[in-house]
Symmetry: C2
Subunit: 345 residues, 2 copies
DNA sequence: ACGCGTCAGGCGAACGTTCGCCTAACCTCA
DNA sequence: TGAGGTTAGGCGAACGTTCGCCTGACGCGT
């Protein structure tokens, strides 16, 4: 906090003009080795650090990226966002950017605030996560011509903005094939309502796999409902109440918490998860490691997503490219006990 | 992103000098109502937004606060940090600040980076969390005279820096009293090694409560070890292997994950958590809601901590006060099934 | 009618950079 | 030897604010 050392101080000590110091430090100019060495030494001695605010003012860029996410609806439990956040920060730092937190509480329409943050020069661009089915932030920001990259996508056939998303369809297809390999045939799925882009996407992976295997899907096996734990719990009870021949031997869910609800329901019926009925989740929430039995699930490549998001956004900011880029990353199948040891009875 | 509107633009349209516009907008000057109205109208029409970079340069402050935390050692599972983070962001926003993410990966000694961030004018001050037993960041930052407030504290008898912490001792004391009320007498505790300030603090709450109740503590009941789930699992097995008269009927732990490990161990021995042996945790990690049986634990007032941290830091930054302030907040006892229904046999 | 206080608003400077243009010296080659 | 190119480094300006001082006009009391 001692008084700051500026370019002028360095210049005075080194006997050159301060603009020259600036250029030397950024390698924008050729000077004699002696001068360069003298300047560099002076910089070290005085402990000079460029003032980023002044630089930003001059270059009209803040080198700051706003990260907007929805504070998790209930009790602060966001599956994979923490890993994503860290990845983003790390990647941004490598490219000379920092991340500014900018939560977007559920109801509020703060496109006003976005505009303000960009116009006022606070941030250069935005990262959005937790996209809604038809997120209004996207068109709002696009209209203002504000650079953005999303983690996830809205419901759009050909989106005109950049995003990185996880291929839920491919993921669920993978896990269903895994269940088929274990000998399951009556496989149910617990998905989200049709308004949920994510849920619909994942559900179609289930349908793909069943189709490919040539197994007709009993409509009773396909459930759609809103919620997480409670929904899974209730829906599983319904499935288990089906007549024996119709009752599924495996339940695929589109989210780990739904799976946990289902597991508890199965448990209550005196059945053993894994042996009697397989259950699978989605997300590989950190905590499910501590579940018994372990839950087979699909791990989101949150780290990779973060890296790609920054790559795309920074490229865009620095003008290397401007057209929208879309990336789909495959999740990884993690097999645990909940989908193993099936004994057909 | 259209070309930015500046003070000068507004001034030109309103027919006053740009400095006057600045002063009017900040209420630093008295003008005739007409002029004020004219200026305000022009601001709206043109959509003027003050450029924060320029303001920051002039005022020598960034209005940015760096938030430094340790990326969670394993698989991205940080109990309460998300709530804290949100609270901090919200509180900061209210006071005109934003939060810059600045993770501090485990091994790295980045006090160099801290210095740089402050010297370069990137941030005005720091929030630190995840303090180590004898965190070197504290003295380093203090030596540089960089404003900081910590969430948690290091091992210091009278710390000279500001912090907000949760009173683990009072919390554990509370939960032990609760167990005593349930009729338990042989109560064990799973704590962390002596190097852990947090662990030691919480352990002393246990000792307090036992002392107050006049119950002699069998040394076999007090375990200290490093780790989380695995440690709890192993330590619980050891406790359960004690001779019947000595074997505890309740296990207090200093962390939810330790408790989960212990619950699994109890389960494996064919005992029922709650009825046969009580177990308690600490933190109220969001996910334990989905545990069966529910885990009695102590909820950290992470939200309040965040609010206080910002309050203290901003006061400090704005010079209202400079001496170190220390705040200790009590955790809240959350009673669930794991500590109820005890049947003395 | 004159001096003085008050008030509205102007003006220059500064914050610490970066950028582009300029210049003087030196080098090169015919 | 002199024209033209190259090179090291200087210099003024600008980015968009905020701050402190200044000024001119008006009102008021004597």
């Amino acid at each position: 906090m001692a008084k700051k050392v500026t370019l002028k101080d360095v210049a005075k000590h080194a006997g050159v003009s301060y603009q020259t110091v600036s250029k030397i430090l950024r390698g924008q100019i050729q000077v004699t080795p002696e001068v360069r060495a003298r300047v560099q030494r002076t910089v070290e001695e005085l402990g000079y650090r460029p003032n980023v605010t002044a630089r930003n003012l001059r270059t009209q860029a803040s080198h700051l990226i706003g990260y907007s996410w929805q504070p998790s609806r209930q009790n602060f439990l966001s599956p994979i966002l923490e890993e994503f956040e860290q990845s983003v920060v790390e990647a941004a730092e490598k490219r000379g950017y920092h991340i500014l937190l900018f939560p977007q509480p559920e109801g509020t329409d703060s496109s006003k605030t976005y505009e303000e943050l960009v116009y006022s020069g606070r941030v250069d661009g935005f990262i959005l996560s937790d996209l809604g089915y038809d997120d209004r932030r996207i068109p709002a920001l696009q209209a203002l011509n504000i650079p953005l990259v999303a983690f996830g996508r809205t419901h759009c056939d050909d989106c005109t903005y950049s995003f990185v998303d996880v291929d839920g369809r491919a993921g669920v297809r993978l896990v269903v094939k895994h269940l088929l390999n274990q000998g399951h045939e009556r496989i149910a799925v617990l998905a989200w309502p049709e308004e949920s882009r994510v849920g619909t996407d994942r559900l179609s992976g289930y349908l793909d796999a069943m189709n490919e295997a040539g197994i007709p899907v009993d409509p009773a096996w396909v459930k759609r409902g809103a919620g997480e734990y409670d929904y899974g719990y209730a829906a599983a009870h319904e499935l288990l109440a089906l007549p024996a021949r119709q009752r599924p031997t495996a339940i695929v869910t589109v989210f780990d918490l739904i799976a946990i609800g289902a597991m508890h329901a199965i448990d209550e019926r005196g059945l053993v998860v894994g042996r009697d009925i397989a259950v699978t989740g989605f997300d590989d929430m950190p905590v499910i490691v501590y579940l018994r039995p372990g839950l087979t699930t699909l791990r989101q490549p949150a780290w990779d997503v973060g890296q790609r998001v920054i790559e795309i956004l920074v490229d865009q900011l620095e003008g290397n490219t401007s057209e929208a880029r879309q990336v789909l990353l495959p999740p990884e199948l993690i097999i645990r006990e909940s989908s193993q040891g099936y004994q057909p009875s």
